[in-house]
């Protein structure tokens, strides 16, 4: 018989306890200032030419904020997409669609990170 304590120690059926719940909250809190930064960064650069835009993103603090946003948002997005998929897709298809969502989050996240690193350090 599994007592409540035993279930808690075993961290539930998924063996990860409230990890996903908590991670979604941590990234949500992080996303608030980072999204405000993104909106301000874009609004203040409307009409900026290529050189100005690139120089802005290459600034260390700006690059840092962009990287933080991308990592936090990608994790938040992966959890959210999985949540949606689990409600509407069932059986074997669910596994495939969640895999695709994971690859999508990793793909757009990594592409963005490589772009920012290239803007910062590359030519």
């Amino acid at each position: 018989m599994a007592t409540a304590l035993k279930r808690v120690r075993g961290l539930g059926s998924a063996r990860s306890g409230t990890e996903t719940f908590w991670r979604q909250r941590v990234t949500a809190v992080a996303n608030i200032p980072l999204v405000i930064f993104l909106i301000l960064a874009i609004v203040t650069h409307i009409g900026a030419d290529y050189g100005m835009m690139r120089a802005f993103i290459a600034r260390p603090l700006v690059a840092l904020a962009f990287l933080a946003l991308i990592i936090s948002a990608a994790i938040h997005m992966r959890i959210g997409l999985k949540e949606i998929i689990e409600d509407y897709v069932h059986g074997g298809a669910k596994v495939i669609v969640i895999l695709l969502a994971t690859f999508f989050a990793a793909g757009v996240g990594l592409a963005s990170i490589v772009a920012i690193l290239k803007i910062s350090f590359g030519s």
Binding site: A28, I32, I84, G109
Partner: protein, 135 residues
């Protein structure tokens, strides 16, 4: 118990189509839709960043898209979705502390999210056009 046929025929609790649409319910759906929309927006952000890294020619292509009517409409919806999901998320974070779960607060939060996100989005765009020198 455990019989597959019985499991398949078991009664289900009423679903979305049974209930009269309510503001709080629509807000829950809106939070999900805007969350999904933001995923599409993330793709646009990645495209924009990759284009900046790739050079002026690639950036010109992205710029002309975002400058077009279609591009601006997509960006407007993305900014609205982003702000709406952020305000809706703050509402959820408040609920996580155990506060604001009474009927009145929930209705106020719903209205605050709709009105707040719409006003803020329009404000952001007005400031953007103003900085650009449109007026």
């Amino acid at each position: 118990m455990g019989d597959a046929k019985l499991a398949a025929n078991r009664p289900l609790s009423p679903h979305l189509s049974i209930y009269r649409p309510m503001l709080t319910m629509l807000m829950s759906i809106a939070h999900r839709i805007t969350g999904f929309g933001n995923a599409v927006g993330f793709l646009l952000l990645a495209w924009w960043l990759v284009a900046i890294a790739a050079g002026p020619e690639k950036y010109a292509v992205v710029s002309s898209f975002f400058g077009s009517i279609v591009g601006r409409t997509v960006l407007f919806l993305f900014s609205w979705g982003l702000i709406h999901h952020m305000l809706g998320g703050i509402r959820h974070l408040i609920w996580d502390t155990g506060h604001g779960l009474d009927k009145t607060s929930v209705e106020i939060f719903a209205l605050a999210t709709i009105i707040g996100s719409t006003v803020l989005t329009i404000l952001v765009w007005l400031v953007g056009y103003w900085l650009k020198g449109a007026f």
